[in-house]
Symmetry: D3
Subunit: 116 residues, 6 copies
Amino acid sequence: MSQKADEFSKERARLNEIVMQYADLGIKRFFSLDGQVYREGVLDTKTKELMGLVASAVLRCDDCIQYHVIESRKAGATDQEFEETMAIGLIVGGSIVIPHLRRAFEMWHELRAADE
Amino acid sequence: MSQKADEFSKERARLNEIVMQYADLGIKRFFSLDGQVYREGVLDTKTKELMGLVASAVLRCDDCIQYHVIESRKAGATDQEFEETMAIGLIVGGSIVIPHLRRAFEMWHELRAADE
Amino acid sequence: MSQKADEFSKERARLNEIVMQYADLGIKRFFSLDGQVYREGVLDTKTKELMGLVASAVLRCDDCIQYHVIESRKAGATDQEFEETMAIGLIVGGSIVIPHLRRAFEMWHELRAADE
Amino acid sequence: MSQKADEFSKERARLNEIVMQYADLGIKRFFSLDGQVYREGVLDTKTKELMGLVASAVLRCDDCIQYHVIESRKAGATDQEFEETMAIGLIVGGSIVIPHLRRAFEMWHELRAADE
Amino acid sequence: MSQKADEFSKERARLNEIVMQYADLGIKRFFSLDGQVYREGVLDTKTKELMGLVASAVLRCDDCIQYHVIESRKAGATDQEFEETMAIGLIVGGSIVIPHLRRAFEMWHELRAADE
Amino acid sequence: MSQKADEFSKERARLNEIVMQYADLGIKRFFSLDGQVYREGVLDTKTKELMGLVASAVLRCDDCIQYHVIESRKAGATDQEFEETMAIGLIVGGSIVIPHLRRAFEMWHELRAADE
């Protein structure tokens, strides 16, 4: 994994630990549900991760986007699949998506470089 | 097609005609781009329509949702593919998506009845 | 209950039934979680419903607002508690909340009239 | 004014009256501020109304859009000024703005017809 | 107060000073209104701050969340009241709230540590 | 230009270059359209940039805001025109706009200082 992706995952884990010190059933169940929904069903994990990516892109949530960029790549998404997904997010969400799209491509670019 | 879907498509066409009486290059190019982005690429049309659906669901745009429900079905999406897509939209977007999810399933249900 | 609230609840139930014909575990668990989170805890139900109301107001979800107006009133919220909650929603969410605030006060007004 | 615009304004006034039966200082001051901000300053009223329109378009608030379409026209906006404003709203906000843009052009079209 | 909260408040004050060099009546009145709406009424300050928190959470505004976390704690909110409020924000707003919820719990955790 | 604005523009250019390594026709056409829509028409560039600013403010996109602050100033917007535009953004979008408004005024303040 790239350094950026690695730092992102560590910070995420550190903060999740704090949340879990306080979280009651509601939050815990939601976190669990959030994991389950991307598991392979009739739609495969790659497609589901790309759907999570497009949803995160139009809602302009950088952390969510970074997470789904990493997971989409892990699930085997290609450059072109990533690009077509981001294009849908851009057209649906408009120019306000652009700053997030830039950071998404940067993460993708780094993950790719780290894989070579 | 179901009556609801038919009325939806007619109203959409009627209003598009008004828009086009006033639209200059910018709006026209955007409309054209909006059509192109869902065309088959490395991702097939069905997957792209389901992505348009999940993006519309989390942004809570009823007209956009209805449109992509109709197009997803035309592109061959099954009950389960539709359900898994809506589940992602619900978890990402939260309970405020529920009223839109209800109307999405109602449209799906009617399209299905009309096909039988 | 007022006629408006009654029709709202019936339509909601009718559509929920359609959703449940298709819903798999993910959607079902979310619906269940959505019910649990407003149950009495260290915060009482009235406070939680007013929180659901302010969240729905700033997200400008009419169906969600109507639902929490009805539930807040059932939970014993007074005119002034309702007003102060809506004022927070208005200041946080801005003038785009106003059309929803209008419909929220209309529902409240009808519920009040029906109770007299 | 067109019939559609007339009905819109009457319904708005009817609901505002209900709000004012309950509203305390906070809501009243906000409503007053909301009126003041579009008054002529270094920017004229037409420009401010078109800004209110573009803000309402990207936030996808139909009532707010209809209101600013009516006020922009009253303030002397031309077809082309209206079109260029909506084009900015469309590019910034993306394809989810389209259903609202359609209804905005329909209102504009009716106001124009009523003026002839 | 914790160091993080202290830095947050200082930066906020520094920037407010810049805004006030340019702000005319409209912005000044809004800032004043924004302060008034959380003052004790029939709802106490703690409840109002928690409402401001839930509204900020679903709108995913980190600065607003941090501010209301600090103010909720000052107003006497307990761990459990904070948790139940965040749970409502999470269910209403969905998984895109999670990155903000993480940072909210981190701030809470630091404020708590600083108080011990 | 101020140092902050200069760094902002360089980072934007660096990331755009990465995007363009992957971008296909859809994204490229959107980027081109996004440039065209602010060009002088019946509305002048200054007015269009201020409209882009108000749209970015209510959508709370910091990068978009910074960009339009820079471009509005380049196009000749005065302190008062900037202030009146931000006031509309604040009233329409509510208190959640405030953190972004603070950073917008900071950028404006630095651009102004750099021009003196």
